[in-house]
């Protein structure tokens, strides 16, 4: 039996018995600073304008992509509960003022707040987490709108038709979210390359 002294054991453990693991090597990482609330509000304004004009010509089985939902979820994951919650409230008010008749504000607020809750548990740049959160937020917003229409406006029997639309909208939103996240990653990569 080979006798080992303490210094030898420490050295072998530190170097992994002579094998180097690339994953343990230090990597350059960019510290990402979340945008200010003013910038987020400006982005939300642009999202609402684009969504209510240009994106209306793109539909999948009657459903339209919701940039507002994607931006809310991204804000939630990146900036936390408070910013996403307030942004959701402001976006919902704006959407209702542009024709939602009160069906959007609660849903957007809840969606923003819920996405913000995820930020303490998950890595905000993870694509699967982002897409799952976007799909969840789409259904949450749809469900809130359905409840307001059912209870507040007295419209009955909408669930079946609305639920189909949520599914298609979730698919579209996930596609938009994936493209947006990939574009942001490429842009960050290019910035690093230039630096």
């Amino acid at each position: 039996m080979e006798a080992l002294n303490a210094a030898d054991v420490h050295e072998r453990l530190r170097t992994g018995s002579g094998r180097r693991d690339a994953r343990l090597d230090p990597q350059e990482a960019e510290i990402s600073v979340p945008p200010s609330f003013g910038v987020l509000c400006a982005l939300m304004f642009v999202a609402i304008i684009v969504q209510s004009t240009v994106l209306q010509s793109v539909s999948l089985r009657g459903a339209h992509a919701s940039l507002v939902t994607v931006l809310l979820v991204w804000t939630g994951l990146r900036c936390g509960v408070v910013a996403a919650g307030w942004l959701g409230l402001i976006a919902g008010l704006a959407e209702d003022a542009l024709g939602g008749s009160g069906t959007d504000v609660v849903g957007t607020t809840l969606a923003g707040f819920s996405a913000g809750l995820l930020s303490v548990r998950f890595f905000s740049d993870s694509l699967p987490v982002f897409l799952t959160a976007v799909a969840g937020a789409t259904f949450l917003r749809g469900l809130a709108a359905y409840l307001v229409m059912e209870i507040g406006l007295g419209e009955r029997g909408l669930f079946h038709r609305l639920s189909h639309e949520w599914a298609w909208q979730a698919l579209l939103n996930c596609a938009v979210a994936a493209v947006a996240l990939l574009v942001m990653r490429v842009a960050a990569h290019l910035r690093r390359e230039r630096a």
């Binding site: 209510s52 959701g88 209702d96």
Partner: protein
């Protein structure tokens, strides 16, 4: 002593409660305004800022799409030679503009004829935006009560019925499309004069409460019946399929709307009777 880690710390809870109270208050204000047929404070403030931007974006987008189409058409001619290509491109561009003007002219003539046949006053309006979320089917137009647009005014285009005005601001108004499930239009089949109620199903419309003894054929035209809001005889669409059950009191028909709601650009607002 063991510290209890709480996910819902005090600050988050305070923010959550505040946001929910504000959101519910805003929702109740909106719903109350909808029931009264008025605009909530947000509805008066936000469109005043957003509608001009929407209008500018819509016009720019339509112009860009038009130019892209023009360039695509000119691109096929570009193989011949470079000099000719430039000339053809200019001609194609000018031609498209003329075509657009001709199309617009025909459209306006049709609208004018339609307005004259309805023997009522009408206001032409451009569609500047759609509702951002899909739960409601509404459009925003660039005419408001200063232009004579009132609540419950009927909105048509050259192909048929679009919807009716649900609220009007100074320079803009919201129109509830007939594809919205909360919309109800009295209507009848043109051939048999059988009555029913047309409601929206988001993508199409559905005619309910048609008597069981009525024979409905696909392709038949459905028009508005004279009612509290709507004038009679405005085309709504054509029958796509019929849902008839032997044990039901009424039959229902699915209708393809006459109007293409994804490409609405210009509409006519009829004066409220």
């Amino acid at each position: 002593m063991v510290a209890i880690a709480s996910f819902w710390d005090e600050r988050k809870l305070l923010v959550f409660v505040t946001l929910i109270i504000l959101a519910c208050a805003a929702m109740l204000l909106e719903l109350a305004a909808v029931r009264r047929g008025e605009r909530s404070p947000f509805d008066q403030f936000v469109p005043a800022i957003v509608t001009p931007v929407q209008r500018a974006v819509s016009l720019t987008f339509n112009a860009v799409i038009g130019e892209i189409q023009t360039l695509a058409q000119a691109g096929t001619l570009g193989r011949e030679n470079a000099a000719l290509r430039q000339k053809v491109q200019r001609l194609a561009s000018a031609n498209e503009r003329l075509k657009d003007q001709a199309r617009e002219n025909v459209e306006l003539q049709r609208l004018l004829r339609l307005a004259q046949t309805k023997s009522t006053l009408a206001t032409a309006a451009d569609v500047v935006g759609y509702t951002p979320e899909a739960a409601r089917r509404e459009i925003a137009i660039d005419r408001g009560w200063r232009d004579g647009v009132r609540r419950d005014a009927v909105v048509i285009d050259d192909r048929g019925l679009v919807g009716h005005v649900i609220d009007a601001g100074g320079h803009d108004a919201h129109v509830l499309l007939i594809t919205d499930p909360t919309s109800s239009v009295p209507a009848y089949l043109r051939s048999t004069k059988s009555w029913g109620i047309v409601t929206g199903t988001w993508r199409r419309v559905r005619m309910k409460y048609i008597g069981q003894d009525v024979k409905i054929r696909p392709g038949e035209t459905v028009v508005t019946g004279r009612g509290e809001i709507y004038p009679g005889g405005v085309p709504i669409g054509t029958i796509r399929e019929v849902d008839r059950k032997d044990n039901a009191l009424y039959q229902t028909a699915v209708i393809d709307p006459a109007v293409d709601f994804n490409s609405l650009r210009r509409v006519l607002v009829l004066e409220t009777r």
